[in-house]
C-alpha cells in the first residue's frame, strides 16, 4: 500500500482548505470501506486522507416530519436504520442501508460515502434519487446544493469541484400516501455488489388506487445510477395495474445501457431492469397500502 498522510479535520473549512490545497490526491475519509480498499489495491493514488468523522456537520442525523431528513455525509448505515421514524418515512433508503456489505461494513460505511464513491452499482443512490434528495456541498466559495441525480458524472467521478466536499444530504418529508422501496439482484443473498438495483417511490391517492406520482431509480445499468424520468412520468395519474407497471418497467429497460462484466451480462441486466422495476414499484405500492 502506498504511503500517505492522515489528518483528522475538525471543521468543514479545515477540510475544504486541505482539499483545495492538495487537489486530486487528497481524499475524504469517512467509513473508508471503499477508499481504503482502493488505495490498498493501487486503484487510487492518494497522498492525504482527510478524516471528517470529527466534524459535527457531517454527523447530523435529523428527521423532522415537516422539514424532512438531514443526513450527514459520514453517518454510518447502522445509525440510520436504528431510527424508527426514518424507517417509516424512507423505507427505500433503509432497504439499501441494510444490504450494503455485511453488518461489519454497515458499522463504518454510510450513504454519503456510497454517493461520493460514485459506483454505477451503488445501492444508496437509486433510493436517494427516488426520494428527491439534494446534496449539500461545501467548497472554497461557500455552500451549494445539487439534486442527487446530477451528482455522479461517470464511474468513480462526481460533480464535486476542486476543494469541494459533500457535507450532507437533504430529503424532503414524505407526502401522505407515499412510500419507497429498493431492491437489487445479486446471486447470493448478501455480500454482493448489485447486478442491477432498482428503487421506486410512489404517492397514491387517498383511495390508494391511483398513482399520483412515482419516481424510479436504477443502478448498475449505465455509467452512473439513473433517474428513469420517462418511466416515472408514465405512471402519474394511472390506476395501479399490472399493465401500467409493465409499461413503466419497459420504459426503464429502454434507458438501460448495461455492460457485461464478471457480475453479469448486458442481456441479463436489461432483463433484470424490467423484473426489478416491477418488484420495486409493487413493493412501494404495497407499503403504502399496508400503512393505515
Amino acid at each position: 500500500m502506498q504511503d500517505f498522510s492522515y489528518v483528522s479535520a475538525q471543521t468543514v473549512p479545515e477540510a475544504v482548505a486541505l482539499l483545495d490545497e492538495k487537489g486530486e490526491k487528497a481524499r475524504i475519509l469517512a467509513g473508508g470501506t471503499d477508499l481504503i480498499v482502493q488505495v490498498r489495491e493501487a486503484r487510487r493514488d492518494v497522498d492525504l486522507m482527510i478524516d471528517v468523522k470529527s466534524i459535527p456537520e457531517v454527523n447530523v442525523l435529523n428527521y423532522d416530519a415537516n422539514a424532512g431528513l438531514t443526513l450527514g455525509a459520514a453517518v454510518e448505515c447502522y445509525k440510520i436504520y436504528a431510527v424508527d421514524a426514518i424507517c417509516d418515512a424512507y423505507p427505500g433508503l433503509v432497504d439499501a442501508t441494510k444490504i450494503i456489505g455485511g453488518t461489519a461494513i454497515q458499522g463504518r460505511a454510510g450513504v454519503g460515502g456510497n454517493l461520493c464513491n460514485a459506483s454505477p452499482a451503488a445501492d444508496c443512490i437509486p433510493p436517494l434519487i427516488v426520494l428527491n434528495a439534494t446534496c449539500v456541498i461545501a467548497g472554497p466559495n461557500g455552500e451549494r446544493e445539487l439534486p442527487v441525480e446530477q451528482f455522479c458524472t461517470a464511474p468513480g467521478q462526481t460533480a464535486l469541484e476542486k476543494g469541494e466536499m459533500l457535507v450532507s444530504m437533504k430529503i424532503p418529508a414524505p407526502a401522505s400516501n407515499s412510500s419507497s422501496f429498493y431492491l437489487r439482484f445479486i446471486p447470493r443473498n448478501e455480500m454482493d455488489i448489485a447486478v442491477v438495483g432498482a428503487g421506486a417511490s410512489v404517492t397514491l391517492d387517498d383511495a390508494k388506487q391511483t398513482i399520483v406520482s412515482a419516481r424510479i431509480g436504477l443502478a448498475a445499468v449505465a455509467p452512473t445510477p439513473l433517474f428513469a424520468e420517462e418511466a416515472s412520468a408514465l405512471l402519474a395519474g394511472r390506476e395501479v395495474s399490472d399493465a401500467a407497471i409493465d409499461e413503466a418497467a419497459q420504459a426503464a429497460q429502454a434507458i438501460a445501457r448495461p455492460i457485461s462484466d464478471m457480475r453479469g451480462t448486458a442481456e441479463q441486466r436489461t432483463h433484470l431492469v424490467g423484473v426489478l422495476t416491477r418488484r420495486a414499484l409493487n413493493g412501494a405500492i404495497q407499503r403504502v397500502r399496508d400503512t393505515a
Binding site: Y6, S8, I36, V37, R40, E41, K53, G102, A104
Partner: protein, 158 residues
C-alpha cells in the same frame, strides 16, 4: 521511509499506546505491533469477516479501519473476551457445538456473534444468518455455528 504517528487507544479495557504508519490498518497494528494475532487476515477488503473486532461498541472489519483512526477510541478483540478463569458463553457454545473446524474464521465469528447478542439477545435463525453473512466459513457449512449462537440466545433468554 514512512512517518509514524503516536496513537493512544483502549484495547480490551487497557490503555495502549503504539506508533504506526497511516497506511497500517487496525488489523496490522493489532497483529504486527501489538501481537494480538487473534484477528485474522482472510481477504483484506472487508469480504470475509475474519478480522472482525468491536470499535466503540460497533462491529467493524479491522482491515478497513486505519490504526491512526483509533486515537481515543475503544477496541474489543477476541483476546479480551474470556474471563481469567472462564470462557465467554459464546466461546463455550462454539466448543460444545463443534462449531469450528480449522478455526481461522472462529475469532471473527465469535466477535460478530457477540456484537449481535449485545444488541439483540434473542435473535431468530434468520436474524443470525443475516448478521453473520459478512463472516465466511469454508469448513463447517455454518450449520453448527448458527446452532451455537442459537444456543447462547436460548440460555441467555431462559
Amino acid at each position: 521511509m514512512a512517518r509514524k504517528s503516536h496513537v493512544q487507544t483502549t484495547i480490551n479495557g487497557e490503555t495502549v499506546e503504539f506508533l504506526c504508519e497511516s497506511r497500517q490498518s487496525l488489523l496490522e497494528v493489532l497483529r504486527d505491533e501489538l501481537h494480538l494475532t487473534g484477528a485474522k487476515e482472510g481477504c483484506n477488503n472487508g469480504n470475509c469477516g475474519a478480522c472482525s473486532v468491536i470499535l466503540d461498541g460497533r462491529l467493524v472489519n479491522s482491515c478497513l479501519v486505519l490504526g491512526v483512526e483509533t486515537e481515543g477510541k475503544s477496541v474489543e478483540t477476541i483476546e479480551g473476551l474470556a474471563e481469567p478463569d472462564k470462557l465467554h458463553p459464546i466461546q463455550d457454545a462454539f466448543l460444545e457445538n463443534a462449531a469450528l473446524q480449522c478455526g481461522i474464521c472462529t475469532p471473527g465469528f465469535i466477535m460478530s456473534a457477540k456484537a449481535l447478542l449485545d444488541s439483540n439477545p434473542n435473535p431468530t435463525e434468520h436474524e443470525i444468518r443475516y448478521w453473520l453473512a459478512g463472516n465466511l466459513c469454508r469448513c463447517t457449512g455454518y450449520d453448527k455455528i448458527v446452532k451455537a449462537v442459537l444456543d447462547v440466545a436460548k440460555e441467555t433468554s431462559a
